[in-house]
């Protein structure tokens, strides 16, 4: 059987939530039936408090499902012995790990916990696994650095090296990109992608970063109102799955740019004509201050865009007067002033 046909992680009618003191448990999502193939990377998306973390914590056995069965490589996780489970499923949490006097190598070595004896002495296999994990995470140059000397991006990679040293088939990460800047986020996701596609790991991560999840996941799990909709990112765009995600918010999903935008109330309308490239950005700026734009012929309120001597310029026709501007900022400032006066 091809490795990619194997199911790495499976949920069978699982209810998740948490027990409260005495009374009924709070259910965050129910009847979840999902499957992840080995070598796939899955992005979990949902709003704050929808139960993303609870789901991930349930999958790594940090809490129990309220109902249903979870299978890892075909085995019910509730019946896998403790150490064996630790060798099958690894976890990177959102918790900020902060230890003084620990080097990157030492921290990554902690990942060998389920393999070593009572005193934690290392075999050749253990040392090899740690070296390989550090290589894979792309941090060989940090080996001897102390944890507190690292940047947030390096720290996160170290935590990923730690889970790689644990040598598990399934890796679950709770918001791995949370504290990172944009280049670091993409770098991290590229790393996770490589691990899934080239090293055959099954990776499940949660994120609030929609653009990255759309770009870098084989499949997305959209979590909203206690249900999960799954599919390739593009499938979810076509079937309008994303609209569900932010139903009761001020956001709208823009099918063209595959991103969310604030819903706006427009008070006035302008027509825009001229240079196509400039028109896009001009429209964006006008929409921000509540003015709807239409590309087309001159009306009573009109903006003409174009270049003069190589520099962009704008002319605004309003109240039968025409004014010239050299930047969008000046144009918008002037419009705001008009708006206040009327």
């Amino acid at each position: 059987m091809d490795i990619h046909e194997k199911i790495g992680l499976e949920l069978q009618q699982v209810d998740i939530g948490y027990a409260t003191g005495g009374s009924m448990p709070v259910t965050l999502a129910n009847q979840l039936s999902l499957a992840v193939r080995t070598g796939e990377i899955i992005g979990l998306i949902g709003r704050n408090g929808c139960g993303k973390s609870t789901l991930l914590r349930t999958l790594v056995r940090l809490q129990s499902p309220l109902k249903g069965k979870i299978l890892v490589n075909g085995h019910d996780i509730s019946s896998i012995p403790r150490l064996e489970f630790a060798r099958a499923v690894g976890f990177v949490s959102t918790e900020n790990v902060n230890i003084q006097h620990i080097t990157v190598t030492e921290l990554v070595s902690l990942g060998r916990f389920p393999y070593t004896n009572w005193i934690g002495s290392f075999s050749a296999d253990d040392s090899a696994a740690v070296s390989k994990a550090i290589e894979l995470a792309g941090i060989p140059h940090l080996r001897k650095k102390y944890l507190h000397e690292l940047s947030d991006g390096e720290r996160q990679k170290t935590m990923i090296a730690r889970v790689l040293a644990q040598d598990t088939q399934v890796v679950v990460l709770d918001e791995p990109t949370a504290f990172l800047d944009l280049p670091n986020r993409y770098e991290l996701l590229r790393l996770l992608n490589e691990l899934a596609h080239e090293n055959g790991k099954t990776i499940l991560y949660s994120t609030h970063d929609l653009n990255i999840a759309l770009d870098e996941s084989d499949k997305l799990w959209l979590m909203a109102s206690g249900k999960i909709t799954e599919g390739a990112p593009e499938d979810l765009i076509i079937t309008k799955g994303f609209h569900k995600l932010f139903e009761n918010s001020d956001l709208d999903f823009d099918m063209d740019t595959a991103g969310f935008r604030l819903k706006r109330k427009f008070s006035e309308a302008f027509t825009v004509s001229g240079d196509a490239g400039l028109n896009i950005w001009t429209s964006r700026a006008l929409e921000r201050i509540g003015m709807r734009t239409v590309t087309g012929d001159k009306s009573r309120r009109h903006v003409t865009t174009g270049y003069q001597k190589g520099m962009p310029c704008w002319s605004l026709l309003m109240n039968d007067k025409t004014e010239e501007y050299n930047s969008i900022y000046d144009l918008v400032s002037s419009l705001k002033k008009h708006k206040k006066l009327t």
């Binding site: 056995r61 403790r82 949490s93 918790e95 230890i99 003084q100 006097h101 916990f113 644990q166």
Partner: protein, 343 residues
Amino acid sequence: MNMPLKITLLLVLLWLFFVLFILDILIGPVTIPIKDILEIITTGESMNPAWKTIIVGFRLPKAITAVLAGMALSVSGLQMQTIFRNPLAGPYVLGISSGASLGVALVILGFPPLFAQGNINPLSIWVQIMAAWIGAAAVLLLIMAISFRVRDIMTILILGVLFGSATSAIVSILQYFSHQEQLKAFVVWSMGNLGNVTRGQLTVMSFTILAGLIMAVFSGKMLNVMLLGESYAKSMGLNIMLSRIIVFISTSILAGTVTAFCGPIGFIGIAVPHITRILFKSADHRLLIPAVIMTGGILLLLSDILSQLPGGERTLPVNSVTALIGIPVVIWVIFRNQKITSI
């Protein structure tokens, strides 16, 4: 720092330990030549029977008590700092010594016949030590239960201080209702004294502290993953419940035993783990535990030596000396990371 350097450092500490041990025996109101001291220790005989009595009967047990107490309190402090992930945790600061004191106070003041002057029966030793263990474990459990709900480090410390004050208040009330003789026994005990430990007590103390230290050595690997926090430790296959129980029993035995026989000795437990971490630049408990054992023994020997500096019959309360050594370390820890989040 590489491994050979760490081992060298460990050997230096071992050497320092023996030097201070001999020095501690050397110092006292009666001057005994070092040659005779070594002779008494190695052969057990001496030309001067009075010297033998002084060394074997007083100075040697006191030095051994200092070593045991220093080791026990320091390891207990290290375990607590890791398990609570709190750099300011320690048996004294968290009120665990106070809990042990309360246990001891209850039996000394509550069952006077057992502790009457000159009555040194084995039962009284065990009653006293068990009372201290139970008192220590009770406070430890209480702090642990609260630390699940309150994550803030400072809050837990303040609660520890409050527990300490509450137990002191209860002890004061007990004192109010007790006879003068018991009261005196208790006050002397509460000043922290390494010299009052009898032969029988020292035997019991040695065995129980050894047991506690062995448990600590076994917990090295567990403590290492606990540095990462509960979620990570669990996800790596650590049996959290079992590890907690081992560390709890170990730390209660260590802190409780010392408090039972020497009274509350503060700030050793909090300061020594920090001094050791700085010396060894390591967070690996398999190295830190033996290193903390050495450093703890050294620091309390040093405190005992300092307490005898006034000379003659007078000695300072060892409690005050350890506080003066330990508190600067605590202040330094607070200033080092204004935002205290890690050990």
